[in-house]
């Protein structure tokens, strides 16, 4: 077949051009999907159309930046002050206008809260807003109410640069709030390492990982 080069006509029609585009697209798609699959870790792999419920776990050290943040009750705190009060800590990153992943993350925290309260376990849930300009303390109070957040669950916002810095510090910054990842961070005590759960950890998974973390850090007797 000879190469067909078509020109624009009065109706902007370009048959062969489109056909070549489709071909090129499929070739490009094939090449790109091969390269992409090689870089995704198997445990946390998130296939677009279907995947097995899975999350990856990793133990990490993070440096907490010296930032000032704003709690949902309007109280200003240093980040370290907010996180290092001694209670075992669980962190997630959400925003109030997010309709898919965040409600699921928040539902998970809500159920974890219920279970840990029931077991009289000391804990501290922290949700950082990654849309701080929209999520003022007032918006966060409404959000907290919606998910029946109790005394051990705090929501934080701050200025955009601070919130971005915090996301960078915990390696969850993806440049775009719609692009955020589903991450839960667990730490048994201020001097211990962080456990990072990435993917779809349900409430049972989170609770189990939480207790295992306490146990491995020798902060749980049984």
């Amino acid at each position: 077949m000879t190469i067909v080069r078509n020109k624009i006509n009065d109706f902007g029609c370009h048959n062969m051009h489109q056909f070549i585009e489709i071909l090129a697209l499929f070739i490009l798609a094939a090449v790109l999907s091969n390269t992409a699959s090689a870089t995704v870790p198997a445990a946390g792999r998130a296939d677009r159309t279907s995947f097995a419920p899975a999350y990856s776990r990793a133990v990490k050290d993070y440096d907490i930046p010296d930032s000032e943040i704003l709690r949902h009750d309007n109280k200003k705190l240093k980040l370290a002050e907010a996180l290092n009060d001694g209670r075992p800590l669980l962190i997630n990153f959400v925003f109030a206008s997010c309709s898919g992943i965040c409600p699921m993350l928040s539902h998970t925290f809500r159920q974890v809260q219920t279970e840990l309260d029931k077991e009289k376990q000391s804990f501290h849930l922290v949700s950082f807003s990654i849309d701080p300009e929209n999520d003022t303390p007032e918006v966060l109070r409404d959000y907290a109410k919606k998910f029946k957040a109790g005394a051990n669950w705090d929501f934080y916002t701050g200025n955009l640069a601070t919130i971005n810095a915090i996301q960078h510090a915990f390696n969850v910054f993806r440049g775009d709030k719609m692009n955020h990842s589903s991450v839960i961070l667990i730490r048994s005590a201020p001097d211990k390492a962080w456990l990072r759960l990435e993917g779809f950890a349900g409430p049972d998974d989170v609770e189990r990982e939480f207790y295992e973390r306490l146990k491995s850090d020798k902060l749980l007797k049984n």
Binding site: N6, S33, Q111, E133
Partner: protein, 600 residues
Amino acid sequence: MSKLGLKALSGSQCFYRCRVEKNNQNGTKMIRMIVCFKESDMSGLSLPNSMRNTIAGWLRLSSIFLGFAVVLTQPAYARSSQTDNATLELGRRIYMEGLSASGKPLQGQHPNSTNVEGADAACVKCHRRSGMGGLEGNIAAPPITGKFLFADKENRPVALLDNRSPKDVTRAHTPYNADKFAEAIREGRTIAGKKLNPLMPRYRLNQAEIKALIAYLTQLSSELPPGVENNKIRFAAIISADADPADRDVLVKMMTEAVKQRNASQLISAGRMRMPIDLIPRTPREWELSFWQLTGSPETWNKQLSDYYRNGPVFAVISGLSNSTWEPVGAFCEREKLPCLLPSLASPPADPGFYSVYFSRGVALEAGVVAKYLLEYEKKTPTRIVQIYRDEENGRIAAQALSRVLKNSTIKTEHRVLSGSEPEALSAALKELQPEDSVMLWLNPADLAMLGKAVPKPPEVSFYVSGFLAKDHFDSLSPAWRNGIRIVYPYELGEKRQKNLAQLKSWLKTWHIPLTGEALQSEIFFNLLLLTDLTSQMLDNLYRDYLLERTEDMLSAGTTSSAYPHLSLASGQRFASKGAYIARFNQNGVLSADSDWIIP
């Protein structure tokens, strides 16, 4: 050179005409084919426009490979008999509100045991109003309208799942039937037998509910809206009666030039494959832009807008100008379900509705910022704030907004309304100020220019000036006033601003358009870039709700190509910039921030 022409029908009734010019190796022979279908032949099938386009696309290929043996068949899902209203309404309630047939909240189970119910379980949460889906983190909620689920391969459109990655387009699959659809909803299994993403809940819908949901999805985003034609998309910019004529000229010039440029770049000969996304085929459509100039009082605008719309319906309104109210325009857009994107205004409607998106809340935002500054930032909170404004819409709205915010605070508010264009009105308004007072000047550039004449030496109190109403023009202020005021400044400052505006400036230079006002021109320029990206990413899925959803998503990154520090939206958000600085002119006469970016 010889030409061979094949022409079935000709003239203005042609639905589609196509010519392939083929050059052989020596470049001397050219074969021209013209396929032509009479518009009436197509409309006899009462197909929606979008389907015609799909068929047209298919025809284009088949006309080459199959000759001209064209059989038009309606896809199975479109053949089903008219759905009764009650079924459709039940489908809508499930989709939009998360309510089951019994009226109880819908229950959705996630496989890892977090359950959702009611509004949280409604399809619209992830698949959006348009049914075209969206992106949540790294997970694509795919399009689920009838065209994507139930149509056979030839009639299925293509949609982009992830605008950051043009390889992520909807893939071919066997069409769902009612049973397979029920399996997906109830058991989370795709037509290919795979498990659905765990983000998708499982629902125990009964047969009637399944049927209703199918009926709803089948009609959802199924017909292209008015303003989208086979070879054209129409847009309008709305200019109110009181808009500044100079601003209007700038807007008309910039937009006309950009549309001309955009249409030229769509020509195949100009090379349309500029970005990977251009590899995805779509129907080439020209942009046609109208300027809807409103005249007379705002009460008559609705009628004028309706007339404009009737005579030449548009797909969306992009940009606009007003020096006073925008309420009638906002109401019109809501009524016509017409996206009205990002007009340049100082006081947009307080309730934006679904179909309008604004750069910010305008003077109401400034009122919130100044209130927060006075209460939380000032070393000594003033006992009273005197608000000086003209008896005009913008001034009134601004002053009322500030009074409202300060209602339960320790700061008293006093309103002083200017009348007449003489400096005496201003000097009268600036009398009897106490040292504990602050003064808020909700003034336009003409009044600001008069300050020096009215009162040469500013009284010893804190003065605040509205950046929106000053239109970012402070040159006319006398030196004493320039140094004495603080400005509620809703735009970016310093180097970052210059970086944000670099693209605008080089574009203006290229097209020989003078830079007359960075704030206004950057808003218009931002809109033109936005519209180009939006329409490019939507491919042939040119639905209005989808346009708004794409706008929400596109702005999620906090885009910075305007005079604002960043513009950011998300699902349901309608005001993109959410704060302002308190700024003042420093010793070198440069406007610089006196506070951080304050969000009220």
